[in-house]
Symmetry: C2
Subunit: 492 residues, 2 copies
């Protein structure tokens, strides 16, 4: 056994144990009896302890030092790059700080939920201050003299920087705001869907859509959960969905979204299983897959024509004139407080304000106590609406309560990447719309698997997109796509 072999054998078990931890997370959200929460907490702490010990095992450092990379191929080098980055990251954070962060964030999520239910930001402010303080400490340990926010970003999107995202987002914002105003001011406004749609039919349609987008049920399953998510990698990638009685699109599109995440994981080269290359490479690239499935493909005029037929067959008359009107209904733009319910035009505006606010929180330019005012002022400026209560404002998302700073921008990065990927896909699959119109996504999802998904963690995130597209990613394709689509729907 060489040092490389020893390191890979060690890593293989670490990956398997991390997979177990993920599976427990799935169980917790889908199957676990209510009364088991405390016991599960102990189990999660135990396996996280094992994982931390393995990831900071001094032998990992010794093996990394002992390996001569000169004779290694690109795959081996990529594995080492991931392991080295994780080892250095995990080793830099003092165990005491890591434990304190785990302790505080396990409590703070509950405090956030209580404060949100009580519409009482003041009750949440002290714990959020504590979380911000600890995350700043952690980022200092990681960044050395570097930027704190960049160190946080590195957890979710290696290679991304606050400055780079600021440039990108500054290019997006004015055109999104202009599009939003044009659309909302248009004479023609699509109808909303009305009626009541029984759960069994919604779940049947969700399974059909997952299948249509290439989800492999032999290596996964769909269950109901409070929040839709995707969990697992390799041969066991499970998704969840939810239903809303009066909104049949919620179940359909959250399922197609999670199918995008799942197909990325299922599409990775099986040779990468139980190595650091065996998962999606970053949150931004992951989100590009879920978003292109959900929006660029799933909400296209072509595919919604197919969906209109399927839903009419399932539910009878939908009260919508034809497939063109249905396309408008599916893509209806409406201002709203809640990010997770936002349409394609508004969604990134939600992210852009969170990015600016969280950077200010981390830099110290914004105090936690001033967050509601800052949020509400910015929301009014970008959305033209006054926030009516904290649960519709800065208490709506769980992320900050559990220390996820630097996470939000990956959602918009995913949308930007999805825009680039659609452009490249349209060139590679000239009759894409004709295929989608009959519900056939084989060429589209096959192109993504062949050019992006199968490579897993082989390349850095941005390079993963550039390799698939054949050009450097930028915001332009997303903006062109959004402007063309929504100007078309709204006749402007």
């Amino acid at each position: 056994m060489t040092a490389f072999d020893d390191l890979m054998a060690h890593q293989r078990d670490t990956e398997a144990l991390a997979g177990i931890s993920g599976r427990l997370g799935w169980d917790q959200e889908t199957m676990m009896p209510r009364g088991a929460a405390e016991q599960r907490g102990e189990e999660m702490a135990a396996i996280e302890g094992v994982l931390h010990a393995r990831r900071t095992d001094p032998r990992v450092g010794d093996w990394l030092d002992a390996i001569d990379p000169s004779g290694l191929d690109a795959v081996a080098k990529a594995k080492l790059r991931h392991i080295r980055r994780d080892f250095e990251r995990n080793s830099k954070v003092p165990a005491k700080l890591a434990a304190e962060l785990a302790r505080v964030t396990s409590v703070s999520q509950g405090k956030w939920a209580e404060a949100r239910a009580a519409e009482d930001f003041a009750a949440f402010a002290p714990v959020l201050e504590r979380v911000v303080g600890l995350k700043r400490e952690e980022a200092s340990a990681l960044a050395g003299n570097g930027d704190l926010y960049d160190a946080m970003l590195d957890d979710y999107e290696p290679g991304a920087t606050g400055a780079g995202l600021e440039t990108l987002f500054s290019a997006l914002r004015p055109r999104l705001v202009a599009l939003r105003e044009a659309v909302l001011g248009a004479d023609h406004q699509p109808a909303q869907i009305e009626g009541s749609f029984e759960e069994a039919a919604q779940l049947q349609l969700a399974r059909e859509m997952a299948q249509a987008f290439g989800y492999d049920f032999n290596r996964g399953r769909i269950d109901k959960a409070v929040h839709p998510f995707c969990s697992g990698s390799g041969a066991d990638v499970r998704i969840t969905t939810r239903t809303a009685l009066t909104d049949p699109f919620s179940c359909v599109y959250s399922t197609i979204h999670e199918t995008g995440h799942a197909c990325y994981e299922q599409g990775i080269d099986p040779d990468f299983a139980l190595t650091p290359l065996g998962q999606g490479v970053s949150l931004g690239v992951h989100e590009s897959q879920s978003r292109i499935f959900e929006n660029q493909l799933g909400r296209s005029r072509a595919f919604t024509g197919h969906l209109f037929d399927r839903m009419t067959a399932l539910y009878g008359d939908l009260g919508i004139a034809d497939a063109d009107a249905f396309y408008g209904t599916v893509n209806r733009v409406a201002p709203g407080y809640i990010r997770t319910e936002a349409d394609e035009v508004h969604y990134n505006l939600h992210i852009l304000m969170r990015f600016d606010l969280e950077r200010a929180l981390i830099s110290g330019g914004l105090e936690v106590a001033d967050l509601p005012d800052a949020w509400n002022a910015r929301f009014q400026k970008d959305f033209g609406v006054v926030v009516d209560k904290p649960s519709n404002g800065c208490l709506q998302d769980v992320h900050w309560s559990v220390g996820l700073f630097g996470y939000f921008p990956t959602y918009t990065l995913g949308n930007v990447y999805a825009g680039c990927l659609l452009k490249a896909m349209q060139t590679a699959v000239p009759d894409l719309d004709a295929q989608l119109a009959v519900g056939d996504t084989t060429a589209a999802t096959g192109w993504l698997r062949e050019n992006l998904q199968r490579f897993g963690g082989l390349r850095e995130p941005r390079d993963t997109i550039a390799h698939a597209c054949g050009f450097e990613p930028s915001e332009e394709p997303l903006l062109e796509y959004l402007e063309a689509k929504f100007r078309g729907i709204y006749g402007i």
Copy 2:
């Protein structure tokens, strides 16, 4: 922190990780997608590796040596007893042998399933020889100069010996054979149930029965699986069941059986959670709980009267005259090849022959090649029937293929213990039958929880039964119960 505290903290995480391993086993049998089997194998190997390392960690030996037990209470001493036994056991088996056993038994189960399907014992014989050889090696490492079979028993029923069981079983056999012959020769024979019973109703009744027997759904759940089982401990104890279209009793009684196992785990003192006292103390004691739920309570004249009402309400006319006839139908005695389908009179005869055969295999008095002949001869002698094919004979059970020698006798030990517990319970709960007749098991299951279940692993297995009963366990109560019950039903 004292050595005792350090040891308990170490043990706590080990117990939590063992709980995770068990939960993965549950997932594998109920939820896991088919295509994930190989990946799950890697995950199980990884966590078993972690558990083995923790259980044989030299620090455990150091802590055990450093602890002065003189000032400790009974609970602390019991914890140390379990930890010491496991540490010594795990440390005695060479890692190479343990790995080889794991490897061989992971393959041999598949070979057994193939051989059973093909009715080809010769195809299975070589791998069974290998398993027997490795188990003998393992037992030698454990037993030193002691008896090999006793060392194997120790895994499942600490304190039991082959000689002690032989004495017990010798007392059972003639009276069971005599009862069997009397019953089968009786003029009156109960009717079989006929008809088709839809799955949804069977599952509804199963849930109702689990509830009636005190299963806490807040700390558990019921799912379908190929084989009924109970999994987990403390606040997360899950059971599975199965349905058979033409046999509604299979689902009802396998559910009540697993509810017995589950209520034992759910009934243990919460203070024992994540300690070695936090699980049922042995397989025999565990089986006493499942059997007394299923048979002594669930198949009693009193409770079957309630069940008759419930099943009539659910399915309509069952084609059975009245509750007395129904009691006979539920308890119908019929010779059959298959242990898992056996009635109360035949069941222990199945176990007694397996006990003698496996002891002979381990002692070397019986060669694997001669097993089918030995099995068939013994079956004809005890059951009066010629075995027609290996799947109805020595290939019917999975146990030996995976190295479970010393496991079978715990089933009959459980029945013997259940007989003792019923006798004690009848004294403690004078109006037991009146309660069961209206489906109220509260006093019965409460008596078991109070006098046995809550103590978990505090006492040795036999002492656990003796403490609950107030007398030393013996075969007599079980035999008296069986003779009275079946002579009554068959009018002999």
